[in-house]
């Protein structure tokens, strides 16, 4: 983690939440440092919104504690937590103007009129809406409404900002624009933020760290680079980015490496397993190099894996192409820049070569069951 000596700004400790018989969150641990943006990423129904609502105080956990800025807030109602929430639907108050919405939190706190006016003007200019203060919120575009929602949450200078799929209602271009802008703005003001999304690109773009959630648990909490390059679990690997996988049995192990017998031959991978374990070996498609010439001397060695096969399809995807290579009854996925891919044709023999250091072995979930 970033600063080991500073206490976390938000600390969620062994928190569980149940709705009737359904366990929605199961002993979740999560810490967010001051000024850090942590994203909760996961499939629908994995408990992201629920975790966010627990931090906001809109729901209370059955087990565990939540602390914000060193204060235990587990049983503190939302209005005394000083959090800022940006809802997916924005939840702007329809009976108030833009400025009225932004002023709301401050006027509830009983601030003086002139103080509120200044804060509203400052916050609106922060989100570049200074000219729209008198507008009715119903007369705003989606992107503008999004900014008002953000400004409303920022105006109270909250300890932590919570975003629940805050950008998902925007169209693609606007969303990407807002991702960059929001990231810049949050850095600028040094906000501590938790950001919920199920869009992996958004998570990778915006986050200091990403918590990948699955079935009410956090699978992995790491910075985007680590998460992508060293996914701790097969779920993370599959949820963030593309992967090529092979099922097999460990033939030999040692030195943090395993040799795995797969349907397409022996493959070396990083990992610690006993010989005889069922594993899935996996790597990212971009690590697979496609070599058209299968007779050359480039074979497997201690640093490289190599598999021979036949090109099944070349799928043009703009700057890169996706190449499907059939080896035995397996299909391996590779990626190559357009100019290399254009020389490849379906039906050609091809050899795939990739580094062992980028190959990871995971326990095979199906073999256990």
């Amino acid at each position: 983690m970033t600063a080991p000596d500073a206490p976390p700004h938000v600390a969620v400790r062994r928190v569980s939440k149940r709705y009737g018989p359904l366990t929605v969150l199961d002993r979740v641990d999560l810490t967010v440092d001051r000024g850090e943006l942590v994203t909760l990423l996961g499939p629908s129904g994995c408990g992201k919104t629920t975790l966010l609502r627990l931090v906001a105080g809109l729901a209370t956990p059955e087990e565990g504690t939540i602390a914000i800025a060193g204060r235990d807030v587990t049983r503190v109602p939302p209005h005394r937590r000083n959090v800022g929430v940006v809802f997916q639907s924005y939840a702007l108050f329809p009976h108030l103007t833009v400025a009225g919405n932004v002023a709301f939190g401050l006027s509830v706190r009983g601030r003086r009129r002139d103080e509120i006016d200044r804060a509203v003007a400052r916050t609106l200019s922060l989100v570049r809406l200074e000219h729209l203060g008198a507008r009715r919120v119903s007369a705003l575009s989606g992107g503008q409404q999004q900014r008002v929602a953000l400004a409303r949450a920022l105006a109270v200078e909250p300890e932590v900002l919570l975003f629940d799929e805050a950008l998902s209602a925007l169209d693609r271009n606007l969303r990407e624009e807002m991702q960059v802008e929001l990231r810049r703005l949050l850095r600028e003001i040094g906000a501590t933020a938790i950001f919920v999304t199920h869009d992996q690109d958004e998570a990778l773009t915006m986050s200091d760290r990403i918590a990948v959630m699955n079935g009410g648990r956090i699978e992995q909490l790491a910075d985007p680079k680590t998460l992508y390059e060293r996914p701790a679990t097969l779920f993370t690997l599959g949820f963030v980015g593309q992967s090529t996988r092979l099922r097999g049995t460990v033939a030999a192990a040692g030195d943090g490496m395993v040799a795995v017998d797969t349907p397409v031959g022996r493959v070396a991978a990083m990992g610690q397993f006993l010989a005889g374990s069922s594993v899935v070996v996996a790597t990212r498609p971009e690590h697979l190099r496609v070599v058209a010439d299968t007779v050359g001397h480039e074979g497997s060695d201690r640093a490289r894996n190599s598999v021979d096969g036949r090109i099944r399809a070349v799928i043009f995807q703009g700057s890169r192409s996706r190449i499907e290579v059939a080896a035995g009854d397996q299909v391996l996925l590779a990626e190559a820049p357009g100019r290399i891919a254009s020389a490849l044709n379906p039906g050609d023999a091809a050899r795939l070569v990739w580094p062992v250091a980028e190959t990871f072995a995971y326990p095979d979930p199906e073999a256990r069951a």
Binding site: P77, H79, V83, F87, A91, F93, G105, R109, V156
Partner: protein, 266 residues
């Protein structure tokens, strides 16, 4: 061709409907300034003397006051308890919410007369003889369905995330309801209040069975005047009631828009 004919016919029907609906209202206004006591058209010279006579109608002021009291109070009570019930129905984990919703609007389907005689016998049977209170309770049954219907529809469209947003911004639960839900639902409250006020103020068939010689609501008094001695004074009174209604409607239109009311009223 057929389509054009049909559209022309539709406009014709609409025109006829609008004129037909306007005729009695215009008549009353014209008759109220009649120069003679027999509803002559004010072709040669209008007269405002009938307006001056309204206040001298026998028992007019007490009837007006009673009607206003009953209409305002029953509407206020209905707004509170009807809205609470609507919240429970739309939001809460209320067992039998559907049934309650149907039951709450069911008095609308009931002939007023039947409700009137049912309450008359019931109050007699339980020995409840206070006329004013009996009227208020009866009018509560008249107004509650209007409030329930409008508020259930309004709340069904209300985004309760707004309440959560207000809470995270520093409102207590009750504060969030008052500062966010109530103003956001203002159009529904206004519609509900307007309909239930008018329903009570204009009610005849329920009230007729619950009044006594000294305690009469305005509609009952008016019917009595009309049957006894119809003269332009009544047209003047009717015109004033109409004018008050117009002012109410225009004010609500300013506030929320009539087409929104048309959407929620049925």
């Amino acid at each position: 061709m057929t389509a054009r004919l049909a559209i022309g016919f539709a406009w014709l029907a609409a025109l006829a409907a609008v004129l037909f609906l306007a005729v009695p209202l215009l008549t009353v206004v014209a008759a109220s300034v009649s120069p003679t006591p027999v509803f002559d058209l004010p072709l040669e010279g209008a007269s405002l003397r009938w307006y001056a006579r309204i206040g001298r109608l026998d028992g007019f002021w007490p009837a007006l006051s009673l009607s206003l009291q009953i209409a305002l109070l029953s509407t206020a009570i209905a707004l509170v308890i009807g809205t609470l019930a609507a919240i429970a129905i739309v939001r809460g984990r209320l067992p039998g919410a559907e049934t309650l919703a149907t039951a709450l609007v069911s008095p609308l389907m009931m002939p007023g007369l039947v409700l009137g005689i049912a309450l008359l016998q019931y109050f007699r049977a339980v020995g409840f003889t206070a006329t004013w209170s009996a009227l208020l309770l009866a009018h509560l049954v008249v107004t509650l369905p209007y409030v329930a219907r409008t508020m259930i529809a309004g709340l069904a469209l209300f985004d309760f995330t707004l309440v959560e947003a207000a809470r995270t911004l520093g409102c207590t639960y009750a504060g969030a309801i008052l500062r966010v839900m109530v103003p956001a639902l203002a159009p529904s409250f206004l519609t509900a209040g307007l309909f239930s006020f008018l329903a009570s103020f204009d009610n005849y068939p329920v009230s007729i069975f619950l009044t006594d010689v000294r305690t009469k609501t305005l509609p009952i008094k008016m019917l009595q005047y009309i049957e006894e001695a119809p003269d332009p004074t009544l047209a003047a009174l009717s015109t004033l009631i109409l004018a008050a209604t117009v002012i109410l409607l225009v004010a609500s239109d300013r506030l929320i828009g009539l087409h929104r009311m048309a959407g929620t009223s049925e």
